[in-house]
């Protein structure tokens, strides 16, 4: 037992407050777990919010089939350790059944296809609140997102008609068929997340740290050549470099950065000095200026 005074850091306190509101206001919440640092941070915050009880909702992973193997291994272990239910739904199933069509060519990605699988899962389980790790500093359409963001039957975001959200009062009242996307770490920056991971000593998948990898360079971006997920032209030369990933999404749309940051201390330093934004390495955002907004309107995370 400690004699200390506790003053919980404002961002952490806010996130925990939001988690508790979700559990109090909704019947079937779920945490969208991608295996990335943001969703791992969410899991830690959820754990703190309800301790000593277990996390009172399942994790849902929409598996594109193109995930880094390290991520999958990590995901399974984490769920087991925490004793939470892990639900996995595969994009591949929708491709096989012909419900969605896979993109082909140079910039082919399964990123967009996740939306359909997610909406199916929401319907299958009747989830009324989906907790995600999106942050407002990531991208300028995300900067407009509420903490409780109401979606209709089709998962659509009505960005021009969002509910006012004043002080810390969260209105989770919805009609039948609607659901709410919840973003507990809305106000965190990338550096906040990394600093928290460092401070809390949270384990994250190894691909976030610098490692040797076979890569090729296209349009100034670094792509993994280790597997055949990313489309590569014959003439695109493969070399070996020290790289790490700043975001861990679908392999087909996540580029690496050259880095010597082999541990968390060095990663935090690197982020602090970086002149490129986090999503600068995401090809899915580079497709057009409005790429993120369009995806969100269609029910993306």
């Amino acid at each position: 037992m400690s004699q200390n005074t506790i003053q919980v850091d404002a961002l952490e306190s806010e996130a925990i407050f939001i988690f508790r509101e979700v559990v109090a206001q909704f019947e079937k919440p779920v945490l969208l777990f991608s295996g990335g640092k943001d969703s791992i941070t969410l899991v830690r915050l959820a754990q703190k919010a309800f301790y000593p009880a277990k996390i009172p909702f399942p994790l849902l992973h929409i598996d594109t089939g193109h995930n880094f193997p390290e991520t999958i291994e990590f995901r399974d272990r984490l769920a087991k350790e925490l004793g939470v239910e892990l639900i996995v739904r595969n994009v591949q199933d929708n491709i096989d059944s012909g419900r969605v069509k896979e993109e082909t060519g140079r910039y082919a990605s399964r990123n967009m296809l996740q939306t359909e699988t997610l909406l199916d899962a929401i319907e299958e389980f009747g989830f009324d609140a989906c907790i995600g790790g999106a942050r407002r500093d990531e991208e300028k359409a995300r900067a407009k997102e509420r903490i409780f963001s109401v979606r209709d039957d089709f998962g659509q975001w009505d960005e021009k008609n969002q509910r006012p959200e004043v002080f810390d009062m969260l209105n989770g009242k919805i009609d039948l068929g609607q659901n709410v996307r919840v973003f507990p770490i809305s106000n965190w920056t990338e550096l906040d997340v990394w600093s928290y991971i460092e401070q809390e000593n949270i384990e994250i998948p190894s691909i976030y740290f610098a490692h040797k990898r076979k890569i090729f360079v296209r349009d100034g971006m670094i792509w993994s050549a280790d597997d055949d997920v990313v489309f590569r032209d014959e003439e695109e030369e493969v070399v070996e470099r020290m790289v790490r990933f700043r975001t861990v999404g679908d392999m087909s749309c996540t580029a690496a950065v050259l880095s010597d940051a082999v541990d968390i201390v060095k990663v935090v330093e690197e982020i602090r000095d970086s002149s490129i934004s986090e999503r600068g390495a995401r090809i899915d955002d580079k497709r057009s200026e409005a790429a993120m907004e369009k995806r969100k309107q269609q029910g993306y995370f």
């Binding site: 400690s2 200390n4 005074t5 506790i6 952490e12 900067a143 810390d168 600068g280």
Partner: protein, 415 residues
């Protein structure tokens, strides 16, 4: 590092988004990829300058119309401080989004187009800033480049705002006036060469000097219970943790507390945060508290120190800012959300509409329409434990929700 939360305000096109883009640019907070995108888009549109509003206007409809529709939260830091700036819309139709951005801010920058001076939306936003009791307000007289950097124009606007401020009920506000050009960068981060007559600080210099502080600067203890944690495991068989965020004061183990609204008394047995126990927990902290006695506590109840009770009542009076197309009328029913507590509320009286230019009130109106501010009286389906907004922002505010649409339709400030 501490975070300073700032909101912008002012009429449409007065330059709020441009100013934020300019701040990001001049403090080198725009990453290379974001700057490139702005340069390219500005070129495409045939501008001979960089359109900094592109840094924050993140929606397609906003870029098409050249206006801000919804609030964007922008994060950046300087060596001494972290900032969150809410870029709010000036358009009257989106006032609710301006309130969203301003409600959590400690400081506010009200922009005024030097050519147009104080206009209707300036009044409204300045009034809302006062209603919210935002402590530090900067009046940024913008587009000075378009009025030949005229000291006279600046002083005229300053005089008008000072007059308004003298009529405001809230006296704790610090007003600062800065002439600037968001587009050209005068007095934003760097001192202007065009306004020798201005001896004050640049905007950024001023913001850097503001001390971040808690918007709930109160001393009385308030702990609204969000949820009850019952692990249902052998190890924690009898554990009942009351989880919530402290809205005011500090709580310590051994404190004698009352559970509101029942006023049942007990003592704090333990304060937990994750896997550790603490003696004292401070305001703003999300913790769990256990009590000595097996009393009945559920979501929406509030723990306070026995000697620090707030008002417990089934009716209240408030100033309300209306945010819905359906007008508010006497005798209508709504859900009220007061912190984490829910009840039903009936409007027993619509007393007045407050004119946002501080020129008085209209007594006994028939309705309060979108964007209007008025005084009301509410009857509640159960007693709530509340404070005046001037005493505790978190425990003195509420929202009204329309049961037909589930939309948040008004925000109230308890008298």
């Amino acid at each position: 590092m501490k975070v300073l939360k700032i909101a912008t305000a002012g009429s449409v096109d007065d330059g709020k988004s441009t100013l934020i883009g300019r701040i990001l640019y001049d403090t080198k907070s725009l990453t290379d990829d974001k700057l490139e995108a702005i340069e390219e888009k500005s070129r495409q549109r045939g501008f001979d300058y960089l359109d900094f509003s592109l840094a924050t206007d993140g929606l397609v409809a906003e870029r098409e119309q050249g206006i801000t529709i919804d609030v964007a939260h922008i994060y950046f830091s300087t060596p001494s401080k972290s900032f969150i700036i809410a870029d709010t819309p000036g358009h009257i139709e989106y006032t609710r989004n301006m309130v969203t951005g301003a409600s959590t801010a400690q400081a506010s920058i009200v922009l005024i187009d030097a050519r147009n001076g104080v206009v209707e939306q300036t009044y409204r936003h300045f009034f809302i800033n006062n209603l919210l009791r935002i402590k530090d307000v900067v009046i940024a007289v913008n587009k000075m480049d378009l009025v030949d950097f005229s000291e006279e124009k600046f002083n005229a606007i300053k005089g008008e705002i000072e007059y308004l401020a003298s009529k405001s009920e809230y006296k704790g506000q610090n007003l600062t006036f800065i002439p600037l050009s968001a587009l050209k960068g005068d007095n934003v981060v760097d001192k202007s060469d065009n306004m020798e007559w201005y001896k004050g600080e640049t905007l950024m210099h001023h913001l850097e000097r503001l001390e971040p502080e808690d918007i709930n600067d109160v001393s009385q203890t308030r702990f609204p219970v969000q949820t009850v944690i019952r692990p249902k495991t052998e190890e924690y068989h009898d554990y009942r943790g009351y989880a919530g965020k402290i809205y005011g004061g500090d709580f310590a183990v051994g404190d004698e507390v009352a559970v509101l609204p029942s006023e049942t008394k007990s003592k704090i047995k333990s304060i937990n945060f994750f896997d550790k126990e603490y003696q004292v927990a401070k305001r703003g902290s999300s913790v769990s508290i256990t009590l000595e006695d097996n009393v009945n506590v559920s979501r929406g109840d509030m723990l306070v120190k026995v000697a620090e009770k707030p008002t417990i009542a089934k009716q209240l009076e408030a100033t309300i800012c209306w945010m819905d197309k359906e007008p508010l009328q006497a005798s209508q029913k709504y859900y009220i959300k007061h912190g984490v507590n829910d009840a039903q509320a009936k409007i027993t009286q619509l007393k007045s509409i407050i004119k946002t230019d501080f020129s008085g009130v209209e007594e006994n109106p028939s309705a309060l329409v979108l964007n209007q501010i008025g005084d009301i009286q509410l009857k509640l389906s159960k007693p709530l434990a509340f404070d005046a907004y001037s005493k505790n922002k978190s425990n003195g505010s509420f929202i009204l929700i329309d049961p037909k649409t589930n939309n948040t339709v008004g925000v109230g400030f308890i008298k």
